[in-house]
């Protein structure tokens, strides 16, 4: 696929809940193997876009295609190529981590679901916790399991809806590393976030969704040129609280 054949193609998407117009004509493309960040404040409609692309919601108008398949007319084909990691870690609390992974592997009709589960547990440093019920997991472990569940069967397109919401800074860094790993393997990632630094850190392209439309869409460099040129200022660099936090806990990272 080339730039003429984007993995995700969205044109003129509109959606209203009653009188509330959430999307008012959204257009964007996501190139194969790239990380695309959809940036917006709460209620901007990021989740609505993801739900339409994941075939969970029907748009009022406009078209959307994933991997060349239309989400409205060929939803089953779309579902074969995508994986969704929602805003709230959708894991089964009553099952163990390993059972969760075996469950999705079996639902994806993979051969040898047990081996797939063990591989993912290992890749996400959850092997020791694999036999424990998810209700005993920390927020970071839960999110790691959630993302691991999305990876069973190696879908070529991954939607990450606010993957670091509610995570502590170190767990957030872990998620970032994982997302960078996806791109290295050629997976196409659509990421929604309200954290500007997250988009800056991860995305090849960034689009800002505001009042139901994409108001800006470009690479970080292009976006920076839209602003007034940089001024040179001399300021004393104090460590941020995040840097202090990370430095203090360094070394003793997560073996819950």
């Amino acid at each position: 696929m080339t730039a003429d054949h984007p993995t995700i193609r969205v044109r003129g998407l509109t959606k209203a809940y009653g009188k509330l117009e959430v999307l008012r004509g959204v257009d964007f493309d996501v190139a194969p193997g790239s990380i695309f960040a959809l940036l917006g404040s709460n209620g901007a409609g990021k989740t609505t876009v993801v739900r339409i692309l994941a075939t969970l919601l029907k748009a009022d108008a406009g078209t959307a295609a994933v991997g060349g398949f239309d989400v409205a007319t060929q939803p089953a084909r779309v579902r074969e190529s995508i994986s969704l990691t929602g805003q709230f870690a959708a894991v089964d609390e009553i099952l163990s981590g390993r059972e969760n992974l075996v469950l999705v592997a079996r639902l994806r009709h993979l051969r040898n679901p047990g081996a797939v589960a063990d591989g993912l547990l290992d890749r996400f440093s959850l092997t020791d916790a694999g036999a424990r019920r998810v209700s005993t997991y920390s927020g970071g472990m839960r999110r790691r399991l959630d993302i691991a569940m999305s990876l069973a069967g190696s879908p070529p397109v991954i939607f990450l809806d606010e993957p670091t919401a509610g995570l502590d800074p170190s767990a957030r860094l872990e998620v970032w590393q994982t997302v960078r790993g996806f791109a290295r393997q050629g997976t196409t990632v659509l990421l929604t976030t309200q954290y500007l630094d997250e988009a800056e850190q991860l995305a090849d392209r960034i689009a800002i969704l505001h009042q139901g439309r994409i108001v800006v869409n470009g690479t970080l460099g292009e976006l920076k040129q839209l602003l007034p040129p940089a001024r040179i200022e001399y300021v004393q660099k104090q460590p941020t609280l995040e840097e202090i936090f990370l430095a203090t806990i360094a070394g003793g990272r997560e073996q819950e």
């Binding site: 969970l56 995508i82 994986s83 969704l84 009553i94 469950l103 639902l107 009709h109 569940m149």
Partner: protein, 252 residues
């Protein structure tokens, strides 16, 4: 995708059955309420209720079994509601699976969980002196009617499970269902009730179902069998249609 309906439903049913076996308290609480009612009616009120030569426990057990089912299905609504709330329902719907398998898993789990509760209640009834002269065929008929009634009520439970906005709402619909046997022939003969109440009691679904079960347990020919089956089948069809409407509203 329909080729996967059975295998996907089986995988998902395995998951929800684990929820039941790992929280056995739900089965116990389902069984405890009807058992407590049974103790109260047999040992407290029963002496004052004239059911002729029939021992009171034999008279009221069918109603207790229906109450067991009515309280059991509220957990089905609860489990379904929690799946929607946690987001795992959407995760399943975004996967390449037979989508309706998610609902069937909850329905099959409801049948299994209610069967366990019914066996527990029946066991306690036997300890309390319940005796039946029913043959194998009659017992099979009893099992079949209870299963059909559970299926109908389970599809009713799917509706609030899918459309409730709070846990309380998801469970509250079962209260009227639990209450319905009290205004029927389940605990007292309907002849003793005043006009309008008697009319309601004799024309609501619980009465023919209770009468049928009572006749089958006593080894008598069941005159109300046709009406009982019609009620169960009718409830099942109507509940299924409304559950599907609620389901269509939830998914694209």
């Amino acid at each position: 995708m329909t080729t996967y309906l059975f295998s996907d439903s089986a995988v998902l049913t395995g998951r929800t059955l684990r929820h039941v076996t790992r929280s056995l308290d739900t089965i116990i609480t389902t069984a405890i309420m009807p058992i407590a009612l049974m103790l109260m009616f047999v040992y407290v009120f029963g002496g004052a209720i004239d059911t002729g030569p029939v021992p009171y426990i034999d008279y009221m057990l069918p109603g207790i079994l229906l109450i067991t089912i009515a309280s059991g299905i509220s957990y089905t609504a609860f489990r379904l509601f929690m799946d929607l709330k946690s987001g795992i329902f959407e995760r399943f719907q975004s996967m390449p699976i037979a989508r309706s398998g998610v609902l069937w898993a909850h329905v099959l789990t409801s049948l299994a969980a209610n069967t366990i509760s019914l066996v527990i209640v029946l066991g306690v009834a036997l300890l309390m002196g319940f005796r039946s002269s029913a043959g194998v065929l009659a017992w099979l008929a009893v099992g079949g009617i209870l299963l059909l009634f559970t299926l109908a009520l389970t599809w009713i439970a799917v509706i609030p499970g899918l459309s409730a906005t709070s846990v309380e709402g998801a469970g509250a619909f079962s209260y009227p269902l639990v209450f319905l046997p009290f205004v029927s022939s389940a605990f007292v003969p309907t002849e003793t009730m005043p006009g309008p109440v008697r009319w309601f009691a004799e024309n609501q679904p619980v009465t023919p179902i209770v009468n049928t079960l009572r006749d089958l347990f006593a080894g008598r020919p069941a005159d109300d069998l046709g009406i009982a089956l019609a009620w169960c089948g009718g409830l099942l069809v109507v509940a299924y249609v409304f559950a599907m409407l609620a389901y269509r509203r939830k998914i694209a």
